[in-house]
Symmetry: C2
Subunit: 308 residues, 2 copies
């Protein structure tokens, strides 16, 4: 790991389109990834919003290979690689590193609940040892409301002390600013890069020295979020933060993944995009109409998105 090549800015947990057989629709996915990069948004593929945990390890490896082969820049990639099972996490992480991905976003193993920090420490330590590659940059993924297995401050402290060359940072999706601020104050000075899990905290995160945001809504509103990241020290940013919050607020009124997919389907006029894998439900009917009406009323657009 070299600090110079560290990820920074805005990344999207890229939503995954599925075809009629519920297989990842690779052409649509690559097009979406390209549009995000064109809008200065990095690719945190296989995040929560990617329905990554509804895909097998083999599917994710295939997608990642295709993404790199298609010419998308590995230096902007932070694939999610944390699975329940150690062998899956190791296999996927090793693949990401070998393809040159700048980092990996790593959930703790999330089936067993009430596990100790010792157990989680050993879990991350085993992955680091087994991957055994100096290029590995791990971003810890704290999303306690979904994983139900938190990344505590004391776990970070211990991992950072013992593996400073591999533990690169965190995505804090707790939505708890006090927690994000604690991470920023305690660990950012030690070279541990803090990304907030929602652009609602973007200005606050950057002003406290954080590195950016990995946020669902970057899938649908990439350019304005990325612009605020680049220009956060300019005048008028409070208003721009409020504008980002307003768009996010619309999506947050719905289940996020089906809502974002429904919006992409609408703005691309490509209904296939709205499909989700079970156990999620596709957004349809009146709910979908309400979301689209809300977006149009707010003058929302997805500039440059195309099916071509």
């Amino acid at each position: 790991m070299t600090v110079e090549n560290r990820l920074a800015g805005i990344l999207a947990p890229v939503v995954t389109p599925f075809d009629a057989q519920l297989k990842p629709d690779i052409p649509r996915w690559l097009r979406h990834c390209r549009w995000l990069v064109e809008n200065d948004v990095g690719l945190a593929v296989f995040g929560t919003n990617s329905e990554a945990n509804s895909m097998s390890t083999a599917e994710k490896i295939d997608l990642l290979e295709q993404l790199v082969e298609a010419g998308l820049p590995p230096g902007r990639m932070m694939p999610g690689t944390g699975c329940c099972a150690l062998p899956d996490t190791v296999e996927l992480t090793r693949k990401a590193v070998s393809l040159g991905c700048a980092g990996v976003l790593m959930l703790p193993p999330f089936y067993y609940k009430g596990v100790s920090d010792d157990g989680l420490y050993r879990s991350y330590a085993e992955v680091i040892e087994r991957v055994g590659d100096a290029r590995l940059n791990i971003y810890l993924y704290h999303i306690p409301q979904i994983a139900q297995v938190p990344i505590t401050l004391s776990l970070i402290d211990r991992l950072l002390r013992d593996f400073p060359d591999y533990i690169a940072g965190v995505k804090d999706s707790s939505g708890d600013w006090d927690n994000t601020r604690s991470m920023l104050e305690r660990f950012q000075p030690r070279g541990f890069d803090v990304f907030c899990g929602s652009e609602s905290f973007l200005l606050d995160t950057l002003r406290h020295g954080g590195k950016g945001s990995i946020t669902a809504t970057a899938n649908v509103n990439p350019a304005p979020i990325a612009a605020l990241y680049r220009e956060f020290e300019q005048p008028g940013v409070e208003r721009r933060q409020a504008e980002l919050d307003a768009v996010r607020g619309i999506f947050q009124g719905y289940v996020m993944i089906p809502g974002m997919k429904a919006a992409i389907a609408h703005y691309l006029d490509d209904p296939l995009w709205s499909r989700v894998r079970p156990p999620l439900d596709e957004m349809a009917g009146a709910e979908r109409e309400r979301l689209i009406a809300g977006l149009e009323q707010a003058g929302f657009e997805m500039a440059g998105l195309s099916t071509a």
Copy 2:
């Protein structure tokens, strides 16, 4: 599915021994499986207590093939096959069915929280359709305190109505007798076989028409639990139920999986058995001594268990 071949009685979510590289230790595992069957306990391999969600699909498929090749009876097997990702669940379930397993125990996809019954319904329906084999018997796995995704009564009602040939029953690990009783009253008469998730509810379950128990402690106390199942209509069973409860009570004072493994390691004089995969912690030191002392004080033994 033929009702005549339905699973009944006591099954153990078989604990999985791991070698020094944390790989499944197949000889020790097969020996334990054989001992369980000799004690009239069926093999619910790949349950929560098997650390199944810490193993990859490929590892589980390899283990299942070896189990059948070793001559253990598929008619006594109910492997856990419910994973987060649809392709994993389908692959593992298909393998179990093709090997002749009498049933499969199927967790709902458990990463995404707050999912709808519609989404879970579609998840099970997709698996049934994709496996596409009349021999498939699905036992739904309700363990809300760990999976954090419950199997509701209304979901059971709907699945049983639409897939009566495939939905064979449930393991209720909620520990909530009111819920188990509701399942027994509403669904057992429709040919939906209810297994309680702890032998503490064994007599109650059997007296309400249930089919048995799939219980962690059957890994260490198989013969007495299986005997109570066979003889539950004889006099004196209340006292025997209390004896089972007393043994379970000792283990429940600790984290169950490391505790059971430590006990097996102790009674076999085979320390390797106590190893767990991260994120779990191996039981050691004073805690281990306390458990063993408690078991010896209670006159506990594991008759017939051997390293040979």
